[in-house]
Symmetry: C2
Subunit: 400 residues, 2 copies
């Protein structure tokens, strides 16, 4: 189990500490994602050095590879991956979306990537066959490794997460598509609620179970779901996708849900971690974030920069290192960053490694991006304590 | 320039120190290869931590990408790659082979990888068109990046290496194929000798120029070449390929050449670094080695193990981590290894990362393999000093 202590509060923002049997982490927190028991391109010393206090691994992926039974046999996830700090695992429900309707609809958790106006759901995406199908009892996956069929149920998700031995686990939910209509979303919500109760029945009492609030972009469904979860004995709460069709939709959802959730339990906004979102969601009372963005963008050449280097909402606080303007640039990625990469390497060198597809590039880029987001959240945390959150937000986003 | 001091000698074996303006390195030495100004999958802190004292970068590759002019403009190779220890660069001559006859013949520096008996050169390889063609004045390459034509001459090689600003440089040579006949090899040798004199004329006096002994597997040519080089004002000597058709051919070549080379200058066996070869060549008076083997084998799943873990000549002191017998193996790669990977991670975990194609695998595997070879050479160095070289050799190779 875990203990959550709020040490400072300002409006809806909270600064706190979550204690687990593998140590504690401060909130608000950004949790790097270690999909396959490994934060991509990084190792445990990197994570310690950048003061990462907790990571999140993916239940579905580890279930397939190397298998939760093997991990249990080898002493659990902490021992297997040689990481002795807190570990969070998700439920596998997100993959029901990303390999299901997300694949079919060609969208992410927020459907702001395509032009939607005037289009019917039937007209969008549909080029790709779903790899995950959902029914009232669970999810059937076509395994993306060998094409075999695997089945995930609430009970099974609890068993896998128990085998993994993570500190914080999530109840299996159906993460709906931003393009699902209200009727479907309401039906999915019933399923998520039923599954939440099953997870409460079956989960390993040595772990801390979080329930996930669903309901898509629909206010009444979100409120219903938040009330449902709030009434139950969860150690904390996830807010899951769909998060609507715009960033404003996402913020509205948080505004509906957060006031209903118990103050004394942590709130995790699943799968979100862009710079702008961190500010706006922490402001609205979110305590925990996880996102693959820092490592994924790093691999694609996008490196985070602060406002001092021209980072802003429009460029998403990123430069693309392949740009020829960096060819002779002897500056670090970000002059304000004190990570080991910025202290040692120039943009010109990183550009050379990137265009040459050197393995070292992936490590250095991932290191900087994860470090950058961790330090930003640390600054936000301190700003809340010092009463300067809105100054910091203005400095970064240009608005309050 | 450099200074070479022999501090201990036993039979033909020597223990020494090479001093450069970027610090010193102990010999015998294994030099990790940083082809494109980066030891693949590793960074500068890794190299420092594993006590690498010198690295070798490839002139031809850096000439193409990012270009020696750019590196010069950015302050030279040391500054560009943020490495302040000694750097060696090769001449580009090896690529005349690997992209030339090596490609056409389908062989490496030692042609022990194919069945040769009874075959004529014309019958071997020939499936692949050469990307490098050689004439008396230089080498014409088809650039493997964009297909453009580039030209390397002795003078140009000196200019590029001067722009790079490496501490030790090599004269441009023709690295012949093990399948070249004596007539061709003799002709190539004349070219190499003429080019050596041109390099002596044009090289940057701030750098230490090594001449390269060629002559293939032919005793009289090797002796002729060794005498030619020995008479000239080189700071040290490379022994280049072809090294014949077997490991015994390679050792014979060393036995012919080494006694002719001046005692007081270092000898570098180019491109060789297998465990067995390190023992046998150091025994014969070789001081310096460079090889991509540790990093290349690491990327392909082959990890070095000591005799205590069953490493031997037959398995080339390697395990293949993909093997299903490592699936549940909680041991480190090598119990006798004290590298950070062996101290933290199990074979089971590394196998999982390898089969999942995780980027972190490449780093951890490369780290272990380079560390392993560096520590082995350190042990050999100490054994020579302590008079226990042959005991160590027996322990590892099973013979003296």
């Amino acid at each position: 189990m875990i203990k959550f202590k709020i040490i400072h509060q300002h409006e809806r923002m909270r600064v706190g500490v979550v204690k687990t049997k593998h140590g504690k982490f401060k909130t608000p927190v950004f949790i790097p994602v270690a999909t396959l028991a490994c934060v991509r391109a990084l190792d445990k010393r990197d994570l310690d050095e950048m003061s990462a206090e907790v990571i999140l691994a993916n239940t579905y992926h580890l279930f397939l590879r190397p298998g939760d039974e093997l991990i249990k046999k080898l002493g659990g996830l902490h021992k297997f991956m040689s990481y002795d700090k807190p570990i969070v695992t998700d439920s596998g429900g997100f993959q029901a979306f990303s390999l299901g309707y997300g694949m079919e609809h060609g969208v992410g958790k927020i459907a702001d990537n395509i032009f939607l106006e005037g289009l019917k759901i039937e007209e969008i995406g549909k080029q790709r066959e779903k790899w995950a199908k959902i029914d009232d009892e669970g999810i059937t996956f076509k395994n993306h490794i060998d094409g075999g069929i695997v089945r995930l149920t609430p009970k099974k998700s609890m068993e896998i997460q128990s085998n993994l031995g993570s500190d914080i686990i999530f109840a299996l939910d159906e993460c709906t598509s931003p393009l699902s209509d209200k009727e479907y979303t309401a039906k999915a919500l019933e399923r998520t609620h039923k599954w939440a109760d099953e997870c409460l029945k079956y989960y390993d009492r040595k772990q801390a179970l979080f329930g996930v609030v669903q309901g898509g972009e629909y206010k009444d469904l979100r409120i219903k779901s938040a009330k449902f979860m709030a009434e139950r004995e969860f150690a904390g709460f996830g807010i899951g996708g769909s998060l609507g069709k715009s960033k404003q939709d996402m913020l509205n959802i948080i505004d509906w849900v957060v006031p209903i959730l118990p103050e004394e339990k942590p709130r995790h906004l699943l799968g979100i971690g862009a710079v702008e979102d961190l500010f706006n969601c922490i402001e609205r009372g979110i305590d925990m974030f996880d996102c693959v963005a820092p490592t994924r963008w790093a691999r694609r050449g996008h490196l985070y920069v602060s406002p001092a280097e021209g980072g802003n909402i429009k460029n998403k606080f990123r430069i693309h290192i392949q740009n020829s303007r960096f060819r002779e640039d002897e500056n670090p990625i970000d002059k304000e960053c004190d990570c080991f990469v910025c202290e040692n390497y120039s943009r010109a060198y990183l550009r050379h490694l990137y265009v040459s597809n050197e393995l070292t590039y992936f490590r250095l880029a991932s290191y900087h991006n994860v470090y950058f987001i961790l330090k930003l959240v640390e600054r936000i945390r301190n700003a809340i304590k010092e009463g300067s959150f809105f100054e910091l937000k203005k400095e970064w986003l240009g608005y309050v």
